[in-house]
Symmetry: C2
């Protein structure tokens, strides 16, 4: 089919501990890059709407994210709305941007997300993050996200014979990639031994199995495909997308098959719409909030058969230079996970890869890329497929 | 132009203090009505997505509103996303539902909003509501919403000669209408004297100039216009819509003209798209979070010339039986204002009016209706125009 929409520019703040800045300033850092990359853009004239993912307004006691962003970007009276789907909040913003453009209601929209997290004490951050979990059944009983993904990891170990080393290998790979990304939170490699010896957070997950708490913003400029070349000679087309939910309740998760129904359904929709198969994907950014999530997603997204995730990492298939490089940006693990920004930051990396701007981590000849953004206990998933 | 989308069913929980219930239960109460009104609907098969407005996840420490709703409604793995634009959060959800349907990405979507507020102490509620205001410039200096709208009222008095009695008349009218609405928070009339003698909250606003803190949910079932009659013989068409932002900063507001630029711009877009004029509107629900807001909106939405708002209420033009009955539901003032639900509850009333189901408050022969939903310090505004 013809593309749904085109990405014609993109921006991302540096990810990390951004002391002394508010989220609106990180948003502007990303917005400046969107403008700088797109000399043909007249922001005030061209941009018709802003859709911005943010998971929690509690970090800065600032809600009304859309109007705040529209005010700060000097784009008033442009329409602006916040989207929230936990860690998939920016994926949701992209989703709405695509729909707006595909509907003809708007021709050029700015979408993305932002989160400023590191200025709050870790226990507060943990409690804000936990609101992505069911209050009554999960938060109430103390099930945090490391705890939940640890349960998934044990189930995967038992059912499929994966192990702690496989998880550590995912961390090592993503740090190796992130070391090549000047905007990543961490820009250093780690060894398998360091990962395995890091302190246990929730067994079998250790410190290096968990993504960090990070500040950042990321944005994409999306247009109707037929006008994309007004803004750039190298648009990236969104050719398929799917969004699906799974239960918000941890006890309803599939610990038998060790899979998220949301992933499988969102991927099915996206592949169907894009008319491509998993084997056609040249590069992918997938949601490695914990290393075990990445392993499960290799399977849920169809890059291998169910249960074979560990083979993908053991055999180097997902490394830079492998058959399908995954999380070339460093992933959430090393690039960082400013929750509301992540879904757009993944597409930022796909945009760089498909326009041959990914520098030392460039996947040569990449033509089709996939981004996968997960929310909470696998309760929201967005899969977006792009082609150059 | 042809309609953007059609409303084929609608539901609203009873508004008020709903003790012992969680928001998900209010959501289900509204959802049950959507189903009951629409015998041809097979929810699991037909509904493709849920977009749900909620202003703050802090009331129940429950974010990830979309996935929670999708889980609780038994609609998994259906796509579900929360929208937030302060008090215009449900208006934003409707906006995205319209875009999804207009884009062809989905044919049937459930949109609306919910908020459960009354179980928290009032100072907490006030602080949650204040996140719709700029943190640095307004919250920080103690500017609450009653304070902000009081400033607008004083400016309007000075510039246009309106007065406290005009404000009280708005309250009296809305209570008179709300007394006819079995789902309204308050279902009783008040006298002009009671309103004028009620205690001062922020002069010139008194208790009866302020909407209450309320629990509630409201939903609309929206489809592509060409399939609407599969679900009902009396669809209501969405023929125009506009969304615009104004500054998040109180000091940047137009205290000279006493107008919200967001209102004016959103209305301009909606009228243009619908090809109707203010004089064509038969019934309207507008955002009377404070009585002064309703007065300003008569002007901003073009029902009278700038500065003539008080004439509309003095001369009974906006009463039931008047030339353009406004807030026949009782408005936010009397029906209540569960923040995230309000934008959809307004369209619920318009749906009832245009399908001749509004009972004792029916506007005879109403063919074109308008809903206006405002967020925060006039920083977000959505205007939706419907025809039967």
């Amino acid at each position: 089919m013809s593309p749904l929409a085109s990405i014609v520019s993109a921006g991302m703040s540096r990810f990390g501990r951004r002391e002394g800045l508010y989220w609106r300033e990180l948003f502007l850092e990303a917005f400046k890059e969107v403008i700088d990359r797109c000399p043909n853009l007249d922001p005030k004239k061209d941009i018709k709407a802003i859709y911005l993912g943010m998971m929690s307004s509690e970090y800065e006691r600032q809600g009304h994210t859309g109007a705040t962003a529209s005010t700060w970007a000097g784009l008033l009276p442009v329409e602006a709305i916040r989207t929230e789907a936990a860690c998939a909040s920016a994926g949701a913003a992209v989703r709405f941007g695509v729909a707006m453009v595909a509907s003809g209601l708007h021709d050029v929209v700015l979408v993305g997300g932002v989160e400023k997290m590191t200025h709050r004490p870790t226990p507060e951050v943990t409690s804000f993050l936990a609101t992505a979990d069911d209050f009554h059944f999960d938060q109430w009983h103390g099930l945090t996200f490391p705890g939940f993904f640890a349960l998934m990891a044990v189930a995967h170990f038992n059912r499929y014979g994966s192990n702690e080393e496989d998880l550590a290998r995912v961390a090592v790979k993503n740090h190796k990639n992130g070391a090549l990304n000047p905007k990543a939170h961490f820009q250093k490699e780690i060894t398998l031994e360091e990962a395995l010896k890091s302190r246990v957070v929730a067994w079998p997950l250790k410190l290096y199995d968990c993504c960090p708490i990070t500040d950042g913003a990321s944005l994409l400029l999306i247009t109707r495909p037929d006008i994309a070349r007004r803004f750039t000679d190298t648009p990236v087309n969104i050719i398929g997308q799917g969004f699906a939910c799974g239960s918000i309740l941890a006890f309803e998760k599939d610990f038998e098959k060790v899979s998220f129904e949301s992933n499988v359904e969102a991927a099915r929709q996206a592949y169907l719409m894009a008319k491509v198969k998993p084997k056609d994907i040249d590069v992918a950014e997938i949601h490695d909030c914990f290393t075990i999530a990445e392993l499960i997603e290799y399977e849920d997204l169809g890059f291998c058969r169910k249960g074979e995730g560990s083979r993908m990492i053991r055999e180097g298939i997902v490394e830079l230079g492998g058959k399908i490089p995954i999380n070339t940006s460093g992933g959430l693990k090393c690039k960082g996970h400013p929750v509301g920004a992540t879904g757009a930051a993944q597409l930022y990396e796909i945009y760089l890869q498909l326009t041959n701007q990914a520098g030392r981590r460039q996947v040569r000849g990449a033509e089709i890329g996939l981004a996968h953004n997960l929310g909470g206990p696998g309760a929201s998933a967005v899969v977006t497929i792009c082609s150059r």
